[in-house]
């Protein structure tokens, strides 16, 4: 993004026109003042409202919303990576909540600095957080403190990277070549040599030395 934007004190949601806040949102008004003061900003766009906080603070707000304000449905947890953009921190963890009686949707965006990699988990408040936190961990490497089962969910267990980070290339870093190839031989499973890597897939994102090495390795063997 452009470099001449004002200092990164304001989150990007400020671009929204309805930022004058004539009256606070009813959900925000019902929060106790000690918790309410942690909310950095309140943004409305397209009829939806979201609150912006800093990372450890969302736990207290979510607890209050769950037990005092009766938000019994956690729709989703996810994260956004703002790498290379003028934001106060790199990540945002997003919680989408729903209250059934008055059909109210609320979102909570929590800023997460790059160097702090753990976020308080909410599995004790909603069970649906179990898998969504697992997936967010799998895709962004964010650790949810208190989640009892934070294994990788969609990617293989030994996958070395977190694919939804903005600095991870779309075509990968050639991890598929690194996987050991296990084949049944007789009654045993034997680890085989890795497959020759198709260079055309990786061209343009590897160093020339790497491509050369791969080409050398993938030459047809003499019989």
């Amino acid at each position: 993004m452009s470099d001449d934007t004002p200092p990164p004190e304001t989150p990007p949601g400020d671009a929204s026109p309805s930022n004058q806040q004539p009256a606070p949102h009813p959900v925000r008004a019902a929060l106790p003042p000690l918790i309410e003061s942690r909310i950095l900003d309140e943004v409305t766009h397209g009829g939806q409202t979201w609150f912006i906080v800093r990372t450890p603070d969302q736990r207290a707000i979510l607890e209050h919303l769950r037990f005092e304000q009766n938000f019994e449905f956690l729709k989703d947890i996810t994260a956004i990576d703002f790498l290379g953009r003028d934001t106060i921190e790199r990540f945002q963890v997003v919680y989408v909540l729903y209250r059934i009686p008055d059909k109210l949707n609320i979102r909570l965006h929590a800023w997460l600095p790059e160097e702090v990699e753990s976020v308080p988990s909410v599995v004790d408040l909603w069970d649906s957080a179990r898998w969504s936190e697992r997936e967010t961990h799998d895709m962004f490497g964010i650790v949810f403190d208190g989640n009892p089962d934070l294994r990788r969910l969609l990617m293989p267990e030994d996958f070395p990277a977190f694919p939804l980070l903005k600095d991870y290339p779309l075509k990968g870093r050639g991890e598929r070549r690194q996987f050991p190839l296990v084949r049944p031989r007789g009654n045993e499973m034997v680890e085989d040599a890795p497959l020759p890597y198709p260079v055309s897939i990786g061209r343009g994102m590897h160093t020339p030395e790497y491509v050369e090495e791969v080409q050398r390795e993938s030459k047809p063997r003499k019989k």
């Binding site: 397209g46 939806q48 956004i80 989408v96 898998w131």
Partner: protein, 442 residues
């Protein structure tokens, strides 16, 4: 059933070996243990061995006909009882969310129908609605009505297939064949409308691909005439079937509190008494014009989920009837061609349209929502609530698109449900959950 059937030969990470006797012996001897003490150590080890030897780790999937998709369930069984269950997903993970960050808003429509391949239209519509909400545009009434009709047709096809597969897994094979025959009528209409059967890519941001063919109304009315008796036939076949009822009643019970906490939505949530339906609660595409009920069950077992789907088919038929009766005429694409593609014919003959088309299609131009805007938009897909969380950075590609797949949340509770039950019950539960692997892994 042969106990070795389905038993995997591959080493499993959960198969932790019991304590090796030799090492234990050496350790104890090095400590200077003798006589009675050593005997008691071996006693404990033998008991441990005996307990472990009765347990068997069984892989149910990823290539099992009853999983209907690439799901791996790891069951630790004792005889026929599942004592511990774990699932492994991600076999069909294709990185749709990563792809979205490298494609324009119009291009990504084609990716959405690869998610739930049984009701691709619902995914297309859900995504189009999400981007339109982000842009703040409203599509013309004819487009809205057509989207509703096609979504409901697709929902009927999905539900009837699910019921058929549920019955097939429990032994009623003919029901599956009937269901496939009925679903074919839905696919004929979908093919007539957009040229494809499964990967439809029918919607565009701001409208639909093209208006429906002239015989569309006849085809839909024919479907509305032919389908209800066949629906009643399937229902009669199953609801009076002693074997089917014995297999599904009281199996996989989810109470309302649990369903809410685990985020179950759609027919599975409503079968457990979660009174949620996006079509009624947050009407999109003019669903508030139609008069329909949201059926709800309270028992929360596989039987309730079957009844729920059959009831929902009736309501969908009702919505289609009303929408066909009031189908307006007019354009099917939003008038503002800054955000929606003009007609192809106009692009060839009209300078203005050509410019609009060029600006929308070229990389680096395209649709540009306002910077920092984000929306969580949800629609009611056949499996449950399908949500799209779209964040814009002011360019023509989204900063992030997150899909809330209904199958993902529905399947998370599955290991909890099967623990303590029989292997055959797990089939009855899984088939009633109707998990689509493409949507689960994305």
């Amino acid at each position: 059933m042969n106990p070795n059937r389905g038993k995997s030969k591959a080493p499993d990470r959960r198969a932790s070996a019991p304590l090796p006797s030799k090492r234990t012996l050496e350790k104890e001897l090095s400590k200077g243990a003798t006589g009675e003490h050593l005997k008691s150590v071996f006693q404990v080890e033998e008991e441990q061995d005996e307990e472990d030897s009765q347990r068997l780790i069984m892989n149910f999937g990823p290539q099992h006909p009853a999983t209907h998709g690439t799901l791996r369930n790891i069951f630790t069984i004792e005889g026929e009882t599942i004592v511990e269950a774990d699932v492994e997903i991600g076999f069909l993970h294709t990185g749709f969310e990563k792809l979205a960050e490298h494609m324009t808003y119009q291009q990504w429509v084609t990716v959405t129908d690869r998610m739930n391949y049984l009701s691709a239209i619902n995914n297309n519509v859900g995504y189009a609605v999400a981007v339109e909400e982000l842009l703040g545009i409203e599509v013309p009434p004819r487009c809205q009505a057509l989207r509703v009709i096609m979504s409901e047709l697709s929902r009927i096809g999905d539900h009837v297939l699910c019921v058929g597969l549920q019955a097939m897994d429990l032994g009623a094979f003919s029901v599956m064949l009937w269901a496939f025959e009925k679903r074919e009528m839905v696919y004929d209409i979908i093919e007539a409308v957009c040229g494809a059967r499964l990967t439809t890519s029918w919607t565009r941001v701001g409208g639909i691909m093209r208006d429906v063919p002239p015989n569309f109304a006849d085809e839909v009315y024919r479907f509305l005439e032919l389908f209800p008796p066949l629906h009643a036939e399937i229902h009669y076949m199953l609801k009076t079937n002693r074997i089917f009822k014995d297999r599904v009643q009281g199996v996989g019970v989810v109470d309302t509190e649990t369903a809410l906490s685990w985020g179950l939505s759609g027919p599975i949530g409503r079968a457990s008494g979660v009174d949620l339906d996006v079509r009624r609660d947050k009407p999109y595409l003019g669903y508030d014009q139609y008069n329909f009920e949201v059926p709800i069950q309270d028992s929360g077992d596989s039987w309730a989920r079957y009844l729920q789907r059959m009831d929902e088919i009736e309501q969908s038929l009702e919505i289609i009837r009303q929408a066909m009766a009031t189908l307006p005429s007019g354009p099917v694409v939003h008038e503002d061609f800054k955000t929606s593609l003009p007609k192809k014919q106009a692009v060839y003959t009209d300078m203005e349209s050509l410019i609009h088309h060029f600006k929308l299609v070229m990389l680096g131009h395209g649709i540009r929502p306002e910077e920092g805007a984000s929306i969580y938009s949800s629609t009611e897909a056949p499996c449950g609530e399908l949500g799209f969380f779209v964040v814009s950075d002011g360019s023509d590609t989204p900063l992030r698109i997150r899909i809330r797949p209904p199958s993902f949340y529905n399947y998370a509770i599955f290991p909890r449900l099967v623990e303590g039950g029989m292997i055959s019950d797990s089939v009855a539960i899984l088939s009633s959950f109707h998990v689509i692997a493409g949507e689960l892994d994305r």
